[in-house]
Amino acid sequence: MLAAMGILSLACAGIGLVPVLMAKPLDRVVSTLSGTEQVLPSLDNLVNLSWLTVLAIPLLVVGFILWKWAAATPRGKEQPTWGCGYLAPNARMQYTASSFADGLVQGMGWVLWPKIQGGRVRGFFPFPRRFQSHVPDPVLDRVADPGLNGAAFLLSGLRFLQAGHMSIYLMYILLTLLVLLIWMVV
C-alpha cells in the first residue's frame, strides 16, 4: 500500500532535485499545444534550472551535518510533553486538524460557510455542551451531491413511461408512426 505512495514521493523529490530533466519534455508539450508559433519562452531560458540542483546539494549536506550535530546532543530523561502544569491532559485536548485550520476557516467564513453545531457556553455554571465544526467540500457537498440527487429525483419522475401496460407501449409505436408521417407530409 505504501509502495505506490513511496514511488510518487520519490518522483516528486526527483523532479525537485533535478528539474532540468523535466524542462525538455514540458517544452515539447507546450510547443505542441501552442501549435507552430512559439508563444511561450522555453523553460530553459526563462529560469536557470540547473542552479536548483546545484543549490539542493549544499542544502542537504548542511542539513545532514547539522542533523548529526543536533542528534549527538546529550539527552536527559524523556519527559511527557510539558502541558503548562496541567495535571490530567487527555487525548481530546490535542490540537486537531480543524482547530489548526480554524484561523483561516474563520477568516474565509464568507466563502466556506463552515457547518458549526453547538456554540458558545453561556451562564456561570453552564451544563456540558458539545461543539462540532465541519467545512463541507464546496464542490462535492454543495454542488455535485445535491445536483445529482435532484436530477435523479427528476428523472425518476419520468418512470411512469414504462408502467407495464402493453397497450400503452403499442400506443407509443402508433404515436411515433403518426408523428413521423405527419412530419413527413408537412
Partner: protein, 307 residues
C-alpha cells in the same frame, strides 16, 4: 589566477563569513537598543554567542511523544537560512549563487523552513504548540503575498528575476523611488511578521496563549534550541539584507560598500529595537489587518510599476 577572480573569491569568502558569524549579533544589538531606550544597561551585545555556546553543551530534554521530525524543525531552519543567504547579495558584488529565477526559490525556502518548524511543533502534541503553529501558518499565508508582490514590482522595474540584479540595483533610483518606498514598507511589515518582532508577536513573552513563534519552539532545549536561536537570527540577517539591499548605492567601491552594508544592518537593528520599545503588541485579531496593509502596500507598488 587573474586579479579579478581573486577579488571575486575574497568577496564570496566575506559573504560566507558574514552569513555564518554575523547573525547572532543582530538580536544582541536589538536588545541593547531596547535596554538603552528603557534606561537600563541590558545584556551585552554578544549575549547570544554566549547562549549558543552554553546551549550546545547543555543536556537536551526530549518529550516522550516526539519522533525524528522534532529535530527536523531547527535543522531545517538553519540549513534553509544558510542557503537563502547564498542567494541574497550582501555587500559589493552579486550574491554567490544568484541565478535567473532564484526569487521563487528564496521565497519557498522560507516556506520550507516554516513547514518544518510547524511539523516539529505539532510533533510534540502539546495544544499550545499546535495553536502557535496554526497562528504562524495563518499569518504567513497573509504575509507571503506581500513578499511576492514586492518581488514582482522589483522584477518589473529591473526586468530580471534574479535577486542579485533586483536588489543590487546600481541604476538611478529616481523613477522607481515612489513604488520602492511602498515595497519597503510592505517588506518591513513582512520582516516584523516573519521574525516575530513586537507589533506582530513578542519574542520574549512567557504567556503561551499570546505567543506565535516562540511557542512553537517551547519544547526545544540543548543543541536543537541553539539551532533554533541561530536560525532565527540568520533569518533576521537575510531578510534584513533583503530590506536593506535596494537602498544601498553599491557603486562606491568594494570596501565602502561592505561598510555601508554593515552600517545599514546596524541601523536596521536599531530601528527594530526602537520600534519594539515604543509599540505594544497588536491584538491577535488586529494582526491580519496589519498584514493585509503590507500586502496592499506592495500591491500598489506593483500596480504603479505596471502603469
Amino acid at each position: 589566477m587573474p586579479e579579478s577572480h581573486l577579488v571575486h573569491i575574497s568577496h564570496v569568502l566575506l559573504h560566507l563569513l558574514t552569513a555564518l558569524l554575523l547573525p547572532p549579533l543582530i538580536p544582541g544589538l536589538i536588545n541593547k537598543v531596547k535596554a538603552l531606550m528603557a534606561g537600563r544597561s541590558g545584556p551585552p551585545v554578544l549575549q547570544l554567542y554566549y547562549d549558543l555556546a552554553k546551549l550546545s553543551r547543555k543536556q537536551a530534554v526530549f518529550s516522550r511523544t516526539t519522533t525524528w521530525v522534532f529535530l527536523m524543525g531547527p535543522v531545517g531552519t538553519v540549513a534553509v537560512g544558510l542557503v537563502a543567504a547564498m542567494l541574497v547579495p550582501f555587500g559589493h558584488l552579486h550574491a554567490p549563487c544568484g541565478f535567473q529565477g532564484d526569487v521563487i526559490l528564496f521565497a519557498y525556502l522560507f516556506g520550507l523552513a516554516r513547514f518544518l518548524t510547524v511539523l516539529s511543533a505539532l510533533d510534540t502534541g502539546s495544544s499550545f504548540e499546535g495553536m502557535g503553529a496554526a497562528r504562524e501558518v495563518t499569518f504567513a499565508a497573509l504575509a507571503e503575498p506581500a513578499l511576492f508582490l514586492g518581488f514582482a514590482a522589483l522584477a518589473k522595474s529591473t526586468g530580471s528575476l534574479s535577486l542579485s540584479t533586483m536588489l543590487a540595483h546600481t541604476g538611478p533610483l529616481f523613477r522607481f523611488s515612489g513604488p520602492l518606498v511602498l515595497v519597503l514598507a510592505g517588506w518591513a511589515i513582512v520582516y516584523m511578521a516573519e521574525n516575530s518582532r513586537i507589533p506582530v508577536d513578542d519574542p520574549n513573552t512567557h504567556l503561551e496563549l499570546t505567543m506565535i513563534h516562540e511557542v512553537m519552539v517551547l519544547d526545544h532545549s540543548g543543541r536543537p534550541f541553539a539551532l533554533v536561536l541561530y536560525g532565527a537570527s540568520l533569518k533576521l540577517l537575510v531578510l534584513g539584507a533583503l530590506l536593506v539591499g535596494p537602498i544601498l548605492p553599491r557603486n562606491a567601491g568594494p570596501l565602502l560598500d561592505w561598510l555601508a552594508f554593515y552600517l545599514a544592518l546596524g541601523v536596521l537593528a536599531a530601528g527594530v529595537g526602537f520600534a519594539e520599545s515604543i509599540m505594544a503588541r497588536f491584538r491577535m485579531t488586529k494582526v491580519p489587518q496589519f498584514l493585509v496593509a503590507g500586502v496592499l502596500a506592495t500591491a500598489f507598488a506593483f500596480l504603479l510599476m505596471l502603469v
